[in-house]
Symmetry: C2
Subunit: 410 residues, 2 copies
Amino acid sequence: MNIIVMKFGGTSVGSTERIQEVAKRVEEKVKAGYKCVVVLSAMGKTTDHLVNLVKELNHQPSPRELDMLLTTGEQISIALLSVALHKLDLEARSFTGWQAGIVTDEVHGKAAVHQVKTEKLFDSLEKGEVAVVAGFQGVTDAGEITTLGRGGSDTTAVTLAAALDAEYCEIYTDVTGVYTADPRFIDQAQKIDEISYEEMLELARLGAGVLHPRSVECALTHKVKLVVRSSFEREPGTWIKEKDEMEETLQVRGIAHDMDVARVKLLGLPNQSDILAKLFTTLADAHINVDIIVQSEHQSDQISVAFSISEAEGQAVQKVLREKQSVLGFQEMLFEGGLAKVSAVGVGMMTRPGVAANMFACLSEANIPVKMVSTSEIKLSCVIDRDKAIEAANSLHRYFGLGADSKVSI
Amino acid sequence: MNIIVMKFGGTSVGSTERIQEVAKRVEEKVKAGYKCVVVLSAMGKTTDHLVNLVKELNHQPSPRELDMLLTTGEQISIALLSVALHKLDLEARSFTGWQAGIVTDEVHGKAAVHQVKTEKLFDSLEKGEVAVVAGFQGVTDAGEITTLGRGGSDTTAVTLAAALDAEYCEIYTDVTGVYTADPRFIDQAQKIDEISYEEMLELARLGAGVLHPRSVECALTHKVKLVVRSSFEREPGTWIKEKDEMEETLQVRGIAHDMDVARVKLLGLPNQSDILAKLFTTLADAHINVDIIVQSEHQSDQISVAFSISEAEGQAVQKVLREKQSVLGFQEMLFEGGLAKVSAVGVGMMTRPGVAANMFACLSEANIPVKMVSTSEIKLSCVIDRDKAIEAANSLHRYFGLGADSKVSI
C-alpha cells in the first residue's frame, strides 16, 4: 500500500471551516491514489480552555487527570474531521490513541511511545478508509491514558509513518516551511527547500518551533521522509531527509534563537569524581532540563559548574539546589536570568573549521558579549543577553550569507 | 465494603463552582465512611455545543463518530471532579466508560450494557480512592466507543450500583425529588417520600422527567435502592424501593401528563389474523414508537385501529402508512394532533376497583372529553385535548387527594 501520513496542527483545525479545508486536502490525496492516515491536534484554543478550567479547581492538577482532560481535545477533532470526510463521500474512521494501538510508558504528560499495534489501522486502510488518528495521546499497558507532551502530535505522525512504512509524512502547519531563521524577527529569513534530519534536529531543539525535536529524532531513527508545509497555502514546503539525498550542503543552514534562557553557577564544589553525576542526577530527578554545561577547575580541590536552563524553571532549580547544598557541598550559587541563546546550524560545519571564528567575530563586531558557548558537530551556540538576541540573530544571518541576495555561504 | 453510587447530572456539574460543590458532597460521604463511586454527565451545555459543531460539518453524522465526539463531554467532567477532590485531600481516580469496564452491544447512540468488568473499580475503591466514572458511555468487545442514549448517565449509575452491590444509588438532580405531579403546572404537587419501582417506572415513562425509564427498569431488575435528591439543596429526596419495604400504599401515587400526543386512525382494515402484526411491524421498522392502541370491529370483515404517537413523528407516520396503504389494505387514514395524555399511577390501583370510575367521573365533571383510554395494573391513562391537559391534571390531583392538605387517598 502507498500510505502517507498527514498531520494537521491546532490552527489548521481551528474552526469547522478549517476542518472542511483539511477534508478537501485529504480528498486530493485519496483521489491521487494514496492510503491516508490523518493525525490531528486539538482545535485551536481547546487545550488552553481546558487548562483554564482545571486551574480554577486545582493549581496542581495530577498529571494523570490532566491527560484524561486534555486528550478529549484531539478526540473532538478526529470525530469532526471524520464526519466532514463522510460529507465528501469518503470512507473514514476515527481512532483515539488507544484505539490506534499507540502504547506508551507510564510518564503522564510526556510519555514515550513503546510500541504501535498497527493491526486496526492496517485493517481500516485496507478497507479503503481514511484513518483519522488523535495525535498527542497514547495508552499504557495497564489502560491508562497518556499524553506525549509538547509537540506530541508531530511525534504521533512520525511514529505512525514509521510503523506503517509510509512513503512520507506531511506536517501541515501555519507556516510555509522551515526558514533560515525565524521570519518574525529576521527580515531576510529564507524558506529552505531541503534540510537534513541532523540540521533540522538542531534547529528544532533550538526553538525554530516548526517541528518538535522528538518527532525529528523519530524521523531520523526510522528514516521517515518528512515534509513541512502550509495548510493555508499551496506551496511545496520544506523536505527533511537524509544528507546524501540532498542537492547542496551549505556551511550554515540556518540561525536559531531561543529567548528563554537563564544561567546557574555553582562555585566551590568539591573536586570529586562523582560530583557532576550527583549534581545532574539531582536536577534530573526534579525533572529539570539542563542545556549547556560548562565546568572549570579553580583549585586542585574545587571546581565550579555553570549550566543554562529555561528561565521558567529558575525557581524550581534554586529550591532543589538549596535543599541539597550540604549533600552537594558547593559554597555559593549564582543565578542570572534575562539571557538568550543564538545558534548557527549546518552539516557543512563539520568539514569547515572557520565557523566558530566567524561567529565570534560577528558577535564581537556587534559588541555583543558571549557568556557561554556550546559546540556540536553541526551546531554552534552562544548564550548572550536577551535584549541583544534579535540583533545577534540578524547579524549572524547576514554574516553567513543566508539572506535572499545570497544562497552561498561565505 | 459499604459502597454507594452518586450520580450528578449536567446542571449539577455545569460550572467549576458547581463541581466544587459536588466535591464537597462527595467528601461528606467519604467522611461518613462510604466507599464512593461518582457517575457524572457532561457539563451543562457541552453536549449541545458539540452537536452544533458537528452539524456545521454534516447534518447526518454517523452514529459511531457522534459517540466518539459526545463521550468527550463526560471525560472532561470526570477529570475536573477528580482534581477538585484532590484539592480536598481526597484520593480520587477518573474512569472513562471503557476504563470502568462498561461493556455494551454495538448499537451506537443507544447501546445496552452487556457486562460490567468491575475489577478496576473494586481495586480503586479498595485503595481508598473515590472512583469517578464517565456516565452515558461504554465500549464494545471490539473496542468501539458507544453511548447509552438519553438518560444514559442514570443507567450507568444504576448498572454500577448493581454490579458493585452498592448499598444504594443517589441520583442528584436539579429538583428535590419525585412529585405527585409536575410542580411547574400543578400548584398543589407534593414531594413523594417513597415510591415503588413500578410506580416510578410508570411515572418515568409518562414524562415525569426526573429519571429515565431504563435506569428505573435496571434498578427494579437488580433491586437497587434509589434516591432522587437535589444537588443544590439539602433535602431528603425521594426513595425508590420495593413495595413491601414501603410504609404506606396509596391508591394513586401521582398524576403525570404528556403534552406531545397525536392520534392516527385507520379505517376499513381487512379483518385478517395478521393485520395488526403487519401494521405495527411496519411502524416499528420505521422506528416509530406507538403508545396506546385501540382496536374496534365494525363489520365482520373490517376493523379499525387507532393509536397514539408523539406528534413530532406525525409526518413520518403518515408518510410510511401512505406508502404501505395497498399492502395494509386500509380505506382511510385520519390524523389528529393537539392532544395530550393524563395518567394516574399507583400500585394501590390493582386492589381497588374504583379508580377508573373516579377518573372518568372527575374528567366528566370538568367537561373534558376522553378520546382514548389505556389501563395497566398500576396506571390509568386518558388521551384528551392538549389545551385541557393542565386543567385535567390539576382536577385529578385534587380529586385523588394528592395535595398538601390531604395525603390520604379518597
